[in-house]
Amino acid sequence: MQRQVALIKQSLFDQGYLDEQFVELEELQDDANPNFVEEVATLYFKDSARLISNIEQALERGSFDFNRLDNYMHQFKGSSTSIGASKVKTECTMFREYCRVGNAEGCLRTFKQLKKEHATLRKKLEQYFQLARQAGPKETARRPK
């Protein structure tokens, strides 16, 4: 079971979904706080769902307020960075570039990709955390003394 968890985690890194920051967060877990990363992830997905919804509304309106969009994306990029969501972060950066040059089509295209990456990460992390909890605390609680 624990091997399965380790394999899933490794693939998330190998495929570029997660970066080093995720490991940094795992190092903050201990016996008293064994689910810290999952808690952060839950907060992240709740918060980013809100941002996605805001961005969607802003885009649907048709008039591209690039400043406002960039603002949302700055927040999105920030929290994605904090949790180590590498692919999502990359899409955020691209979106902001399109905002900067006022490229509406680029924004729309990137946003679609971003939502896809975001949904994929969410699914994979849910699976990972569920398995990790079943496997027991040894695998995830790894704070060096």
């Binding site: 903050l28 810290f36 952060v40 907060l43 990029k77 920030g78 960075t81």
Partner: protein, 212 residues
């Protein structure tokens, strides 16, 4: 009060400040709920008390600087360090830094700015305004440990400076019933009562030099 300040920094001969020194109380300011959770954890692991707020305005409110009641100066409110995000809606971290440094009550509190953007002019601007340090996000445990050590060292320095002016007061306190010239060691006719006090002063002195 002077004695209290000296006693506060008393450490065991092993010199391990993290064991007996009082906890730092850190006010963490960030509009991102994810980042607030992370910085809180980083600080808690580093043995700090943490209060998180989501904006510069709330930070000022917490400190009592929002003009409503005036600076409160309540002892249990004492903040030893403020860590704030730079980019926030409303008051930016820079605005907050300025307001803190403008306050006669709070200007001594060290302020550290965090930002996801490595913009040199921004960093310079903050340092010029009196920020203690500038951290690039995502903030790591090593960053927090470093900041904490810096703050603790500064506090120790402050106490050392304080100790020179307080040495006399301390000696006077210890010798409150005995001879009127407690600090001088050149008095050959010093009574038996003087000896314990100068011994105590010496050990306090030793403790302070081991903080260096």
């Amino acid at each position: 009060m002077a004695v209290g300040d000296v006693m506060r920094m008393e450490i065991p001969s092993g010199g391990d400040m993290s064991v007996t020194s009082p906890e730092l109380h850190v006010l963490a300011v960030d509009d991102s709920i994810v980042d607030r959770k992370v910085i809180e954890r980083l600080l808690r692991i580093s043995a700090c008390k943490v209060t998180t707020v989501e904006s510069g305005a709330r930070a000022l409110q917490y400190l009592g600087l929002d003009g409503d009641k005036g600076a409160s100066g309540l002892k249990d409110l004492k903040v030893n360090l403020i860590v704030t995000d730079y980019s926030m809606p409303g008051l930016t971290g820079y605005d907050l830094l300025k307001k803190i440094k403008e306050s006669s009550v709070f200007r001594e509190i060290p302020v550290v700015i965090m930002s996801s953007e490595n913009i040199l002019p921004r960093i310079e601007q903050c340092l010029r305004e009196g920020a203690e340090d500038f951290l690039l996000k995502p903030v790591k445990l090593a960053d927090v440990k470093r900041i904490k050590e810096l703050i603790m060292r500064n506090e120790a320095e402050d106490c050392k400076t304080l100790s020179h002016s307080n040495k006399r007061k301390l000696a006077e306190y210890i010798d409150d019933a005995s001879s009127p010239s407690p600090s001088s060691s050149t008095h050959d006719d010093s009574s038996a009562k003087d000896f314990p006090s100068s011994k105590q002063m010496k050990s306090a002195d030793e403790k302070f030099s081991s903080l260096l």
